[in-house]
């Protein structure tokens, strides 16, 4: 079976589990919305909120992503499913790509909700001229985040006591995405008078990041989940 077909099967399986269990819609999305409300409590000023809205969207994405990643691997380690896949001779690169695709799909839903929350709660304004940049930013950043989340989630999955390790490992790694995606989103929003042309160099960084961790993850995932 080709790696690509394995990846699609794994992704379909993960998404089917999520559709049936509804953990994402019933728990993770409300959590993300809660984070956005809590930010408003902490910052307590409409002008500030509008100005920092792009950064808060991405920060809330990353916090919620921690929950998503843990969920993604809790499903695997519960019945030793990940070990079973490996014993069955399923290529780890395919597992990695498949789980990344499923995670990316869930992250995309999450980001759309957070973006809407920013528009409604923080009065962020999206101009049509920035729409292309905005969509590209979300695609590039989501891909990179999904790769990193799967890579470090796989490492932290399994043995007990590793859950606490995930934020420590993952958050420093995704820092360039937080910086790059926030600047690009600011450019798309026109926050602080930024023009959308300022956003495109950051897309380069996001794409480089996604390519790096996509390649690294496909090669290294087998060694990281090996028990």
């Amino acid at each position: 079976m080709s790696t690509w077909r394995i990846a699609r099967l794994i992704a379909a399986k993960d998404l089917r589990i999520e559709l049936r269990s509804r953990v994402v819609t019933n728990q993770v999305l409300p959590f993300a919305a809660l984070v956005m409300v809590m930010f408003a409590f902490a910052l307590d000023n409409d002008n500030v909120l509008t100005r920092v809205a792009p950064g808060l969207v991405w920060l809330a994405t990353m916090f919620s992503m921690l929950v998503l990643v843990q969920r993604s691997f809790a499903v695997e380690s519960a019945d030793g499913a990940l070990d079973a896949l490996q014993v069955a001779g399923v290529r780890p690169g395919g597992i990695f790509l498949g789980k990344s695709m499923a995670l990316a799909a869930q992250l995309a839903v999450l980001e759309v909700v957070l973006l809407l929350a920013a528009i409604v709660l923080y009065q962020a304004e999206v101009a049509w001229s920035g729409a292309v940049l905005l969509v590209t930013t979300f695609l590039a950043a989501t891909t990179g985040l999904a790769f990193v989340g799967t890579l470090y989630g796989g490492l932290a999955a399994g043995a007990k006591g590793r859950e606490t390790l995930l934020p420590l490992l993952m958050l420093p790694v995704v820092a360039p995405v937080l910086i790059g995606a926030t600047r690009a989103t600011e450019a798309a929003f026109g926050t602080n008078g930024a023009s959308s042309s300022e956003g495109w160099p950051w897309i380069g960084l996001l794409v480089l990041f996604a390519a790096l961790f996509g390649t690294g993850g496909t090669l290294a995932f087998g060694s990281l989940i090996d028990e």
Partner: protein
């Protein structure tokens, strides 16, 4: 056949070479104290605050050296022809020493910054990258403690170390683009007179010797811990076999 001799007292981690090295680094640090605190002059603008640099610059150099050594040893472990647990232990020992000295770098740097810039911290790319490196390698040390066989630990942590190495330039450049107008953070080399530069040089030599000494010993202690692990398993197996024989 693994070496089953007791690892605690019979095989100390010191050798003649490491003892000479230890004495040399002690002498070097004594020199640094004499030059750094007494012989070198005050700076024209920073006054005695400049003396923090004699600790700060060598420890920053050492921390970066330590992480380069960790990266190279990790690559050496992953490369099949040089695969050996010794590389893994060197990588681990070097990362531990690196984290320690990166902590010293961050603390001494922010104290110096308070004196010469009036602020403890600035979001400059060099500072921010250093702080990220610090956190990333704390994570690396946590990954080393995850358990499993020695080979699993070695492969896992080597991969994490290499990913961290790839990550450093990304963080550096993203922060650099984020804050293009960063403060002048250079030590202003031109302003340091001969004796100051010499003191800095003494500091770098002394700290480098200390680093080699620490990593040598730590690496040997790690080897002993691994041997103890293996031996513990063998002892337990022998005990179970003995129990079986009695019945």
């Amino acid at each position: 056949m693994p070496d089953l001799s007791p690892v605690s007292i019979a095989r100390p981690t010191g050798t003649r070479f490491s003892r000479v090295l230890g004495i040399a680094s002690l002498v070097g640090i004594a020199w640094l104290v004499v030059f750094g605190l007494f012989l070198s002059p005050n700076d024209a603008t920073q006054k005695a605050g400049v003396r923090i640099l004699y600790i700060h610059v060598p420890s920053a150099w050492l921390a970066y050296l330590a992480f380069i050594v960790t990266g190279v040893s990790s690559a050496a472990y992953l490369f099949k022809r040089t695969r050996s647990l010794t590389w893994d232990r060197i990588a681990g020992a070097s990362a531990e020493v690196g984290v320690l000295f990166m902590g010293v770098t961050l603390v001494s740097g922010s104290l110096w910054g308070r004196i010469s810039w009036g602020i403890f911290w600035t979001w400059d790319s060099r500072l921010t990258t250093t702080a990220f490196l610090f956190v990333t390698y704390i994570g690396y040390l946590a990954v080393r403690g995850l358990g499993g066989t020695h080979q699993q630990r070695a492969r896992r942590s080597a991969i994490i170390a290499l990913l961290a190495t790839l990550e450093v330039p990304l963080v550096h450049f993203s922060v650099k683009w984020w804050r293009p107008l960063h403060q002048q953070e250079s030590v202003a080399e031109g302003k340091l007179d001969g004796l100051m530069l010499f003191t800095l040089f003494v500091g770098i030599i002394a700290f480098t010797l200390l680093y080699v000494w620490l990593v040598l010993h730590r690496q040997r202690v790690l080897a002993m811990e691994d041997a103890l692990d293996d031996q513990g398993l063998d002892v337990a197996l022998a005990e179970r076999r003995a129990e079986g024989a009695q019945v």
